[in-house]
């Protein structure tokens, strides 16, 4: 009895293992739930290449803005197009833009961060100064700038989200490299005559991957939110390709007539973003047991 009360009040010096166990249980739950949600979304996107309930672009004016039915499990939009089919095809665009954007950020950011941390000195100052400035341009703002200069579209959105996310990975990689490069095993490699790039590639990078993996998952959540917002604004995936963001854009004018076209893509976004962020949190607990979150 007394021990359980102590465990409930860790602030009074109660059992730390109790809180730790709760945390690791929650971590596993996060990991499992996140993985399930993401698997469901990815499978839906992959399935859409092989099979769809109906043609996502086939208009049928006899069933405009219909509620869910056997024929249209999630209802139809203002042109009588099947919402489930459009949702499945939309998952492709959303995942695709998110993955490419985070890929750009991961590649560019890790490279900049690794060089900055490893070389140090003036180059480090210079690169980090550029990274600092990029912080002043969040994804939507970067997309507005690029869309005005080039052309609004999926490519512009991906590049904008990607570049705006570079600082996150650059900072993360730099701090990993800084703390790792003083460690004994790196010194040993250097003593054995390994060159700079080889030490970075073979000794430092493998040890820096865990936080990066976690960050990829968390950044995907942010990137997918940004993609949806940009498509909603008409600055992302073009209207002829269904994406969750532009489905919502079209749905807004018809919300008074039928809530389903606005409800369905929104819930899909929530599920996907929640999936990536749960997966990221769960991975952090699994890969880095010391993290206090």
């Amino acid at each position: 009895m007394a021990s359980s009360r102590l465990a409930r009040r860790p602030e009074l010096g109660g059992s730390i293992t109790g809180a730790g166990m709760v945390r690791s249980f929650r971590g596993r739950l996060n990991l499992t739930l996140g993985a399930l949600l993401i698997t469901a979304v990815v499978l839906a996107a992959l399935l859409s290449f092989l099979w769809l309930p109906s043609d996502p672009n086939a208009m049928d004016f006899s069933v405009r803005l219909a509620p869910p039915s056997l024929e249209h499990p999630l209802g139809t939009d203002q042109f009588g197009r099947d919402l489930l089919s459009r949702l499945m095809v939309g998952a492709r665009a959303t995942l695709y833009v998110g993955l490419i954007a985070v890929g750009i950020a991961l590649g560019l950011g890790s490279l900049v961060g690794a060089i900055s941390g490893f070389v140090g000195g003036v180059l480090d100052d210079l690169l980090m100064r550029i990274v600092d400035v990029l912080y002043a341009f969040p994804p939507i703002l970067m997309a507005i700038l690029l869309a005005a200069i080039y052309r609004p579209g999926a490519l512009t959105a991906m590049v904008a989200i990607g570049i705006a996310t570079v600082p996150v990975f650059a900072r993360l990689m730099r701090s990993s490299v800084l703390s790792l490069k003083e460690r004994d095993f790196v010194e040993a490699g250097r003593a054995l005559g390994a060159t700079g790039p080889r030490i970075l590639w073979r000794h430092i990078l493998p040890s820096a991957t865990s936080p990066i993996i976690v960050q990829v998952s968390l950044s995907l959540a942010v990137a997918i939110l940004a993609e949806a917002a940009l498509s909603f604004l008409g600055l992302g995936t073009p209207p002829r390709v269904p994406s969750w963001g532009n489905m919502l854009r079209e749905a807004q004018s018809f919300m008074a007539l039928s809530p389903y076209p606005a409800l369905v893509p929104g819930l899909a976004i929530v599920v996907t973003v929640l999936g990536w962020s749960l997966l990221g949190d769960g991975l952090r607990d699994a890969l880095d047991p010391q993290s206090r979150r």
């Binding site: 602030e11 709760v22 002043a136 606005a262 976004i269 929530v270």
Partner: protein, 314 residues
């Protein structure tokens, strides 16, 4: 502290300068002649020349940048091509919508997040904590613009309590202006409330573990005093940072929310500038946002030092 302030201030100024350089340089990468692109294929050579002159395109890039920057420092960003009025005048008008929206959203976010975060940390181990944590996790995954649509659906379409969009100016009706900002501010604030709740909880937990908090409890101080004075005040150091970052998210999120609720704010102005290829307006807007973000992070850093005197800046 003072030398830190000076250095931090210089660094913020440098960041703003580099942001201006980036905004300016981005426009140089435009494929082709901006004047021809703005006016289209059917423009007469005379009008293209006139526009080139208005935009200062006949001047080489470096002096042009310095001219633009010099004007920007005086608040002169030239005339909007689309509205044919000074850019600064347009922006000033739109601030009447965007500033109250952002502040209202922030107030809503803090009013929800701070109590929830503190309660969650104090009730660690009970059912309340996981409930709040899960709600916060869910809340952070909801896109604010979709939440806006759902609020319109419920409060405007179903119940008819609040306008679904549009804006009543402050001069015409202050109550009308507030009514038209309530739903947008909630839509914008709730997502940030989720983020701030999580961080408040985490930093409270961190502080509650400290020895001096145990001492305060042990010497018999009332729980409320231990929580509010000894713990929350110290947890605030981290929370202020998060609120600063949230403010950045709010500023940018407002661009999307203004579109959802058809509010004539800065964000919508920027979006129309894209379609109209109104480069002077767009450059000014992007630079304004970037400057606001750099300034916010500067303020956060300074507050950090004031709230926590232990932090000695070397």
């Amino acid at each position: 502290m003072l030398s830190y302030l000076v250095r931090r201030f210089a660094s913020a100024l440098l960041s703003i300068f580099l942001a201006a350089l980036l905004v300016f340089a981005a426009l140089l990468t435009i494929p082709g002649d901006p004047a021809e692109i703005i006016l289209g294929l059917n423009a007469s050579p005379g009008s293209v020349t006139a526009l080139r002159e208005q935009l200062g395109l006949d001047v080489p890039p470096v002096p042009r940048f310095l001219n633009w920057l010099g004007g920007a420092l005086r608040g002169d960003f030239g005339d909007s091509l689309n509205y044919r009025r000074p850019v600064s005048e347009l922006i000033a008008g739109r601030l009447q919508v965007s500033v109250p929206l952002a502040l209202g959203a922030m107030a809503i976010a803090c009013l929800i997040a701070l109590p929830l975060g503190v309660i969650s940390a104090l009730r660690q181990g009970s059912w309340l904590d996981p409930l709040i944590v899960s709600l916060a996790q869910l809340g952070a995954a909801v896109p604010s613009f979709w939440l806006g649509l759902m609020l319109i659906l419920f409060f405007s379409v179903e119940l008819g309590w609040l306008p679904a969009g549009g804006y009543m100016t402050w001069e015409r009706s202050p109550i009308g202006a507030i009514r038209s900002l309530i739903l947008p501010a909630i839509a914008l604030g709730l997502g940030q409330a989720a983020v701030i709740t999580r961080m408040t909880r985490a930093s409270m937990l961190e502080v509650l573990r400290q020895d001096y908090v145990r001492t305060a409890s042990a010497k018999g101080l009332p729980q409320s005093r231990v929580v509010l004075v000894h713990s929350l005040r110290n947890a605030l150091v981290t929370i202020v940072t998060v609120i600063g970052l949230s403010m950045v998210q709010l500023l940018v999120g407002a661009i999307v929310i203004e579109q959802v609720f058809a509010l004539p704010g800065l964000g919508r102005l920027a979006l129309t500038a894209i379609g109209a290829r109104d480069f002077p307006l767009l450059q000014a807007e992007v630079l304004l946002y970037a400057t606001a973000i750099v300034t916010l992070s500067f303020i956060v850093d300074v507050l950090y030092g004031i709230l926590d005197p232990r932090i000695r800046y070397s």
